[in-house]
Amino acid sequence: MEASELKKLIDKYFEGETSLDEERKIKETFENNPELQHRFPESALFLALVAEKEVHPSKDLAAQFVQPEAKVRHMNFGTTLKWAASIVIVLSTIFLLFPFNPSGDQAYSDSFENPEEAYEEARKALAMVGGKMNHGRSGAANKIQKFNTVIPLKN
């Protein structure tokens, strides 16, 4: 800042008409330019104002009010997925090793209540299977029989 401009600002300061920015500029100019300090006796005042702001408490007055930041554990998606997968594997293993095996009446909850009726149905089912098997065998037997017929050779 030029000396003439500085002089104008200083006069304006003592008239109470400077802005905060202008007041800051005056202080900075004197702080950074020792040669101007000697040219302007008013510099002592501005340096005194700067020095007054350098006064600090001897201890941290905020210490008793400062809250330590709580540690927040953030679980990322990957970690969550791994946990879920592990649980599924464990549960699956358990069910494989120890399948659901109902006991007592539960095992027969869908069976016939009348044992004679159950017997008749079972007999019919077996007869059907047997019939199918015989039919198959007969067909196969006939085909095999064909090969057992002796065909005389013609001379």
Binding site: S43, A48, L49, V55, H56, P57, S58, A62, F65, V66
Partner: protein, 169 residues
Amino acid sequence: MGLPSRMTAKEFSKMVDAMQGKLFRFAFHFLNDIQEAEDAVQESLAKFWQKREHSNEIAKPEAFMMTIVRNESLDRIKSRKKESRVSLEQDHAEILEDDSMEERVLALRKAIRELPDGYRSVIHLRDVEGLRYEEIQKVLDLSLSDVKIRIHRGRKLLKEKLIPSNGSK
């Protein structure tokens, strides 16, 4: 605009951490004693913390905090047995012809602290801490014209101190 809701401990600590230097210097310029200024600030912070239930009703928490510090400091001055301002040196601030820049600066610092009560606070808040006129109004509960007049007169008194006295070393 006030705070949206009751101030949390975290918000309070953040505010205090940012302001403690300014609050301390403000108390110190009243009390001129480091220990007492620290006590005044801590007492003020505790009072503000107790009132945090209504913090959302406070338009400018920082200005309010400084007002509490001011009131606390003035209360302590009243309760002192001796004269309010305790100066380590009995001489009033004055610059001598032969004084070095350091001595001049020291003299002016004393002069700032020895300003009459009505001017000392406004000069401190404006010229040391850099507060806007509106902020000074809130802290000291003054009208805008009062703030401007006191700044003008306070600076004028300090300017007179810049003129070296007739005495020399």
